[in-house]
Amino acid sequence: MYKIRLQQFEGPLDLLLFFIKRDELDIYDIPISYITKEFISYVALIKQLDLEAAGDFILMASTLMQIKVRMLLPRETDDKGEEIDPRADLVKALLEYKRYKEMTEELALMESNQRKRQFRGYYDADEKEAPPEFDALLKNITLFDLMKAFRKVLEERPKGNVHQIRKINVSIEQQIDFISEKIEAGKSVKFFELVKDMREKIRIVVTFIALLEMVKMGKLGLRESINFNDFELYSLGNG
């Protein structure tokens, strides 16, 4: 019993191969009228549904009919005077297609095998030390970049009661301590992360100045972050 699953027909060649297999036809001596009839009844189905995909099938149907007609005519001959079988090109295409169809099965098998394997799933627990100074990376960060990231922070800081006048007690020394706390030896912190919760412009400004101060003192290194507008601070450990 043949349960036809249409998903398996990837096109007219596939359908022809199916007929050949199903009816155990000789691929080198395809009964062209028979197979054309089978094929056309299938195409009729597709056309009935008025589908765009019918195009490839209709093209093949006309090829088949053309072959059918040529079969009835006296055979053409090639350069060497040998008769040309009107089906030759079709057979060649079918065999070539069949070849890749077989490789498709091989790929499906490899796919199944590989699906039985899983790669490691979660990597975040790995401790990754900030690399020592790599010139290439540091070169990418200029004071201008720093200013730009700073400006972006000012633009994107949480909107709150910005106009409310309050006196904010914050000193550069305090912010140096604050930054030092945030970057214990070996760890790094992103600038945006550092100032994320600061609602007052002045606090961010002071933090930024503190940061520059620490760079000058050699307590702090800066490097490019994956996010191009941000940068990372890391301790140079001698502070």
Binding site: Q118, A125, E127, K148, F228
Partner: protein
């Protein structure tokens, strides 16, 4: 005489299953998720509880310690996860840096694409297309030698013009700029992808139904044929 736990402990297979679950999980996985996974697959009556899982994790770590593995299982965020030991952190840090250096960020790629297709182009034009300030992107691309400055535009202010470099062609395996995929070609490949998929699904369902009906009839006819042959 043997307690349930000991009986279970003998069952080497769960030792490995727990190991592989922690290894492959996308997030730290909890003891109860592990017992649930095992019970769902092997049956509710499998005698394993969260304590067993935790004991197994200890035993696994013992094993890793003995064999001087470079990793171990850590307990974080209410779950277990593998972690490489901290002494290797500088090598791993190096690797991740290498990777981020290699990767062109989406924004950089966007900028590069605009320059590639619209060259020579000025910064204001790039920024109009992207809708954002592109100084940083342009600088990065200049530094990576993927773009270069090709004179100045004749417009007001005579802004700099940017073009792609030989390096750019090499990076993308192109012989020359004409080899860049044309927007028309991209569109041809991308056209109506969703529509085609939808349509295929509908077509397949409809055709399958119809053919199955026909096949039933054909089957009967074929059976007749076979009978005739035999």
């Amino acid at each position: 005489m043997t307690s349930n736990f000991t009986a279970w402990e003998m069952d080497k297979i769960y030792f490995n299953i727990i190991e592989s679950l922690i290894f492959a999980a996308d997030e730290p996985i909890s003891a109860s998720e592990i017992t649930k996974a095992i019970k769902d697959i092997d049956g509710e009556d499998i005698d394993i509880n969260n304590k067993d899982v935790d004991d197994t994790v200890n035993q696994l770590n013992e094993r890793y310690k003995e064999s001087e593995s470079s990793y171990e299982i850590v307990r974080i965020a209410n779950g277990y996860s593998y972690a490489t030991k901290p002494e290797f952190s500088k090598y791993l840090g190096y690797l991740s840096t290498e990777k981020s250096k290699r990767r062109l960020s989406q924004a950089a790629l966007e900028t590069l694409a605009i320059i590639a297709y619209k060259q020579p182009i000025t910064k204001p034009e790039i920024e109009t297309l992207r809708g954002v300030n592109s100084d940083y992107m342009i600088n990065t691309l200049l530094e990576k030698n993927l773009i270069t400055i090709k004179g100045r535009a004749e417009t007001i202010g005579r802004p700099l013009l940017y073009s792609t470099t030989e390096e750019f062609l090499k990076y993308f395996g192109l012989n020359n700029l004409e080899d860049l995929p044309k927007p028309r070609e991209i569109e041809e490949i991308m056209k109506d992808a969703d529509f085609i998929e939808q349509r295929n699904r509908i077509m397949m369902n409809a055709l399958e139904e119809q053919l199955e009906n026909e096949v039933d009839i054909e089957d009967m006819e074929e059976e007749d044929d076979e009978n005739a042959v035999e």
